[in-house]
């Protein structure tokens, strides 16, 4: 059993170091451990289990030398004098309480460092140090050597805002709250008729006092509403802030007039309350968004992993010789999640995989498609040694790269949210709120003007009162808040269950879905669960004579093992080929035959989506793919063959005819095929039954018709089953459904059907252990959530229903309030009570309902990692190709 690194928790390879009964995965981790224990900071390890960050290589001390340049230094530090310099570093690696403790005890590690303070939410550490004893570059190097690589963005530091927005909002809120409390307090005397005892002077005094209190609120606290309303008016739009701003101005103007003319004490208390509650909602919203952004930026957001290559060092040969002699010296490949990547790791990127962090190309001619980043679709050819930017996508064979920068989760998220991947259909985006608020604003303004005109004729004294009262009592904030709150918290609920939404508004579309299209591979069938068997082309022995005479024209003799089992060399060639592809079938074949092979270089690798892959290994031309594809190249495939009992494994209980076939031809001659038994996910049947009553279902598959019967039985007679589909066919299929007025959800593996995922109204990319990031999708769901798809859909519907219910509550409130107001009978008390009550109740309802419904959503949190482990165990248990059928 491999031990976990005491410092960072990564699995210790054979090159592990150990010190004092504790094992470490690398020299970097050991160095940090020793540094900490020597300086009395061993408490770091008591605060959390394996709290450290993997440090692959000790940091070179001069790496940050550029920070000591006066110009750079001046831009970076917050404060500097002779005795003290203060600098704030952004450290993306901060992730737990032990980090906080360690970073705040930094002074124990390097004399000259003073106080350091961590802001956990912003992942920042402010460090004070004595410039006479410590250089800025040394502080940065110390942080880097502990694994907290500072993220230095000098460009951003140029214009540091003097007052961050959050601080301004707090001030606005404080001023409004202060004024609201006091104004209400004073106003109570009027409500209870205290002026009966004191005469009209009190009323007058209170009127002026409240006016005084309201001025800073209207001028400072509400300033953002005027700005936003003005900006929206200039674009000839009516956003939700327009009636708010109009209402504030109207109330204020009327109240001032009332007080100045001695008619009453105005509505200042209501006005301050209105602004106070609006700002409360805004702050709450901002906090929720921040927390969401934090969840997204933190490593838990994308369940993505990459293949890391670790080369064993020759001098470690002796250590491992007893384990598996033949394995030594081979590059060890392991799948690690993005968050575990360290700078300097070597990664293997296969066809279609995304470069997760800025990296240097080590081997292989790379053809990088930067369309996610730049929108430029023409791939760029790169040579070893070239610098590759994160977000590019490798096209063609596998390449090996070395990361030079840490992975930025937020950067990958921003790629996902890029305009290029936004759906064209704008009505689906934020439709609920926008449509409603536009209408709301118009209606309220019409009613207000109507009431003013009506009363101007009937009773001019009431005219202005009615006009402002309508604007006061009409509460648009409930509308503005309901959707972001309900959908935002629903997004969090789903995120915790490994279903990640691109943005909260995907839920609106999700709720409208009425047709679901499944891509077979990797969604309904579980990868890694079924066996992989090789069937030598024994039929080819008979059919070869007639069909491949043409290819045989050169009279090449195949040799003794030409039929039946694969030779070692052939297995190695195929293994080398599969390493270049991310196709689920290729990955499974690769896992099954990995055995003890070293990959060989593959030349002119080409993968044709939906068809297969080709390339040259060791001078042999290898083709692997669908029968139709090979046949189109003149290779006969024995697809007519009836199923032989292909699986000698007695534990294999599933019917043998379920599976995908990958045909292999070597040097233009059929060699046989791999049968990948695809076990249906255990609850697939239940899922389909559950869905089929409410949705139109369809299945698309690039495979041939072999499995039609099985899926027909599963899907029922109404469903559309399409086989032999090319990616373009899939896209057209979705388009056809949409033309019929369907809202389509497409569930695919995100790689081989990216076009269809993008075309669908909601594209769901299902990820298993290895996955390439697919910005075309709207939802990334971990594979174990697929059986729970029906629940996710139901939850989306319920969330949107919650928003609608909140709208309804708010509408009823508004109808009641506005009709009282329009009749000219609105008293300040009613206004002051109704206004905040409506906002608070709507927000509480929206958040409460989504959280409560979310609790009912069954917990699907099998850890992704544990599944990976299970899958890799499976493939090590059964690494050999089970023999041919002959």
């Amino acid at each position: 059993m491999k031990a976990a690194c005491f410092h960072c928790g990564a699995a210790c390879g054979s090159a592990a170091h150990s010190r004092a009964d504790k094992s470490f995965c690398c020299a970097g981790c050991l160095a940090v451990f020793e540094l900490l224990t020597e300086n009395g900071l061993a408490g770091f390890y008591q605060l959390a289990e394996q709290p450290g960050i993997r440090v692959a290589q000790p940091t070179a001390t001069n790496r940050f030398a550029f920070l000591d340049e006066p110009a750079v230094r001046a831009r970076l530090v917050d404060f500097a004098d002779d005795k003290l310099t203060r600098v704030t570093f952004h450290l993306p690696a901060i992730h737990c309480i032990a980090c906080v403790w360690l970073l705040e005890n930094l002074f124990r590690l390097l004399p000259g460092i003073g106080q350091s303070q961590v802001n956990f939410a912003r992942k920042e550490a402010a460090v004070a140090f004595d410039p006479a004893r410590v250089k800025l570059s040394e502080v940065a190097a110390l942080l880097a050597s502990l694994g907290y690589e500072p993220e230095l963005k000098l460009a951003d530091l140029d214009a540091k805002p003097a007052n961050p927005p959050a601080r301004r909002l707090w001030l606005q809120l404080g001023v409004a709250g202060f004024a609201f409390g006091n104004a209400m307090f004073f106003a109570i005397t009027g409500y209870f008729g205290l002026d009966a005892f004191t005469g009209p002077q009190l009323k007058e005094l209170i009127g002026w006092l409240n006016l005084l209190l309201a001025v800073p609120v209207v001028a400072f606290s509400a300033a953002d509403y005027y700005r936003s309303a003005w900006a929206s008016l200039r674009q000839r739009l009516l956003n939700i802030d327009v009636p708010i701003a109009a209402g504030i101005v109207a109330i204020f103007a009327q109240s001032v007039w009332e007080v100045a003319s001695g008619r009453g004490e105005g509505y200042f208390d209501s006005l301050c309350g209105l602004i106070f509650f609006l700002l409360c909602g805004k702050l709450f919203q901002q906090k929720t968004y921040n927390r969401l952004a934090f969840d997204r930026d933190y490593k838990s957001f994308f369940p993505l992993s990459v293949t890391r290559v670790e080369r064993r060092f020759p001098n470690r040969l002796a250590d491992v010789a007893d384990k598996a002699g033949s394995e030594t010296g081979a590059p060890q490949e392991s799948r690690v999640s993005l968050s575990e990547l360290a700078i300097g790791d070597h990664l293997l990127l296969r066809n279609g995989e995304l470069i997760p962090a800025d990296a240097k190309l080590l081997s292989g001619p790379a053809l990088i498609d930067y369309s996610f980043v730049t929108g430029e679709s023409e791939p760029l050819a790169k040579q070893p040694g070239d610098y590759l930017y994160a977000g590019g996508r490798q096209m063609g064979g596998a390449i090996e790269v070395e990361t030079v920068k840490p992975v930025s989760q937020s950067y990958l998220t921003s790629l996902w949210n890029q305009d290029a991947f936004r759906k064209d259909r704008t009505e689906s985006f934020n439709a609920l709120t926008n449509a409603y608020s536009q209408r709301f604003t118009k209606i309220i303004l019409t009613v207000a003007v109507g009431a003013a005109v009506f009363w101007a004729v009937v009773n001019p004294a009431k005219s202005l009162n009615a006009f402002t009262a309508v604007l006061i009592v009409a509460c648009p904030c409930a509308l503005a808040l309901a959707a972001p709150f309900a959908l935002g918290s629903a997004q969090r609920v789903l995120g915790r269950r490994n279903v990640f939404l691109k943005n909260p508004f995907v839920l609106e579309t999700l709720a409208r879905v009425n047709a679901i299209v499944f891509d077979k591979t990797g969604t309904l069938t579980a990868a890694g669960a079924g066996s992989v068997t090789w069937q030598g082309a024994q039929v080819a022995r008979h059919s070869n004579v007639e069909t491949s005479n043409a290819t045989r024209a050169e009279g090449l003799d195949i040799g003794m093992s030409s039929y039946g089992e694969l030779t070692d060399a052939e297995e190695r060639w195929l293994y080398s080929m599969t390493r270049h592809s991310t196709h689920p079938l290729a990955v499974r074949i690769g896992e099954a035959i990995a055995g003890q092979h070293f990959p060989e270089p593959v030349r002119s690798f080409l993968e044709t989506t939906g068809c297969g892959m080709e390339g040259q290994v060791d001078g042999h031309e290898i083709w692997a793919g669908s029968a139709a594809w090979l046949e189109s190249r003149g290779v006969a495939c024995s697809s007519r063959r009836k199923e032989a009992p292909s699986s000698p494994d007695p534990t294999q209980s599933e019917p043998p005819h379920v599976g995908s076939y990958v045909h292999v031809a070597i040097d233009g001659r059929q060699r046989g095929c791999f049968v990948l038994a695809s076990a249906l996910r255990s609850d697939s049947g239940q899922l389909i039954t559950e869905l089929s009553s409410r949705y139109e279902l369809a299945l698309l598959s690039g495979d041939n018709e072999r499995e039609r019967e099985r899926f027909r039985a599963l899907f029922g007679s109404d469903a559309l089953l399409q086989f032999n589909q090319s990616p373009l066919d899939k896209l057209d299929f979705i388009k056809r459904l949409q033309r019929d007025g369907k809202t389509v959800m497409m569930v695919g593996d995100g790689l081989n059907d990216a076009g269809a995922l993008k075309q669908a109204d909601v594209g769901v990319a299902v990820v298993e252990s290895v996955s390439a990031f697919s910005p075309a999708s709207d939802i990334i769901a971990s594979a174990q959530m697929v059986p729970r798809l029906a629940e996710v859909l139901r939850y989306a519907k319920q969330s949107v229903a919650t928003v609608r219910a909140a709208f309804l509550i708010s509408t009823i409130y508004n109808i009641v309030g506005v009709s009282i107001a329009a009749s000219g009978n609105l008293s300040p008390v009613v206004c002051a009570i109704l206004m905040p009550l409506s906002s608070v109740s709507v927000v509480a309802f929206a958040c409460g309902m989504t959280a409560w419904l979310g609790r009912k959503l069954r917990d699907g949190e099998l850890r992704v990692e544990s599944r990976c482990a299970a899958a890799s165990q499976l493939s090590t248990l059964n690494p050999q190709l089970t023999g041919g059928a002959a």
């Binding site: 010190r19 004092a20 160095a31 020793e34 540094l35 224990t37 020597e38 009395g40 900071l41 061993a42 408490g43 008591q46 605060l47 001390t61 309480i97 906080v100 403790w101 705040e104 005890n105 124990r108 303070q117 961590v118 802001n119 956990f120 939410a121 912003r122 961050p164 959050a166 601080r167 707090w170 001030l171 404080g174 001023v175 202060f178 409390g181 006091n182 307090f185 004073f186 005397t189 205290l194 005892f197 004191t198 002077q201 009190l202 005094l205 209170i206 006092l209």
Partner: protein, 64 residues
């Protein structure tokens, strides 16, 4: 009841004092970070003071 004419301005004076206290607290950055202080509370000084558990029989693992 005319005492109220004295009490109201007095209450305003108090309230304004609190308002300024609030403004000061925001300006001094106390609302910047509401997460870390709650974590810092859990960090025991004792852990830091504890003699390290290093058995130290390794041959001088000096770092730099």
């Amino acid at each position: 009841m005319s005492v109220i004419f004295f009490l109201i301005p007095l209450s305003i004076v108090f309230a304004v004092a609190f308002l300024f206290a609030f403004i000061w607290s925001v300006r001094s950055g106390q609302y910047e970070d509401t997460t870390t202080p709650s974590m810092r509370l859990l960090l025991d000084e004792k852990i830091a003071a504890k003699p390290d558990s290093k058995p130290d029989n390794s041959p001088n693992p000096k770092l730099k």
